[in-house]
């Protein structure tokens, strides 16, 4: 459920994603190969794929190329002090495509190449979305800091 919550726009969408993911899991349980990985990793992948399918349905991934991305400065103490639910709300405020790329890259550890393959976009577009997500988050965290 935690994985679905990261990608979903709200709790109801997360529940919907989880339900569909479980149905897929039950239907394709015979194809699970224990030698390729553990069950948790397999189920996590199913949930992420289902989440990305939902995001693709409600958003368009346009081709965008990033220039030289500069690393934004973010005060870590602000994040530590902020509530987890508030951080989740910050991430959800990102545009859907940027949100998906950020969660895939920063939270679930996907590379730009893997993200490009998952979302049918170029690596440059994936990098642009990550840069955009970082910029937006820096502005929002700075805004929290100044409050």
């Amino acid at each position: 459920m935690t994985i679905a919550l990261r990608y979903a726009a709200d709790e109801h969408e997360a529940a919907d994603i989880l339900g569909h993911a479980f149905v897929k899991m039950f239907r394709s349980i015979h194809s699970f190969d224990e030698t390729k990985g553990n069950f948790h990793g397999w189920l996590k992948k199913i949930i992420i794929n289902e989440s990305l399918d939902h995001i693709k349905q409600r958003s368009r991934f346009t081709s965008l190329e990033s220039g030289a991305a500069e690393e934004p400065f973010v005060n870590n103490s602000v994040i530590e002090k902020t509530d987890a639910a508030a951080i989740l709300q910050l991430v959800r405020q990102l545009p859907p495509a940027t949100h998906a790329v950020f969660v895939l890259y920063a939270i679930d550890g996907y590379t730009h190449k893997e993200i490009a393959g998952q979302l049918n976009i170029s690596e440059g577009t994936s990098k642009w979305h990550l840069s955009e997500a970082r910029k937006i988050l820096q502005q929002k965290i700075t805004a929290i800091q100044n409050q």
Binding site: M1, T2, G19, V23, L88, A106, I107, G109, T111, L137
Partner: protein, 192 residues
Amino acid sequence: MNNTTPYEQLIAAKLDQVPVPDMSDSIWAGIEAQLDVATDMPAKKPSSRFSGKGWFGFAGVIIAVTFLWWHFSHKDHTAPRETVPVKAEPAPVKDSNRQVYPAKKKEIPFSPLPVKKDTPALNLNEIAHPDSAFRQSTPVIKKDSPALRIYGVPYHDSISIAPAPKKPKGVKGISDDDYRISSGKDTAKKGN
């Protein structure tokens, strides 16, 4: 390679702490409903295939096809054939002495050609008619000849000329009596 920043790692750690809402019952209900639909679908398909109105539709199509086939096949046999105007076949020509002239040929007034003085004289009285070819009796074309099929009526080939009388065979001046076998000659030979 994935290069996450320290604050991103912090965000990831924070997101793992997000409290999960208690929606397990509704989620399981949704899963159950989807699985029930998934299992019911294959069972319903075969029954709906040949039941209810489907049979009537199928039977209707079969009847329509059969009727159309019968209609067209019947029509081919009973339909009156296209009437082709048949030329009235002329009555067979009976044997008679009467000569038939199918077409009148325009009589061209005959005027004897001026005879030149340096040419040998020609006895015009020997010629029965200048246009002798016209006067010659020509054979009637048989009923089953191709010409009759084309023209439809007995047609006299006015251009054709009757064959010339046969030349007498043998040597002139020898009569049948000359071929008579005399017994005297044969007995004379026997004696030798």
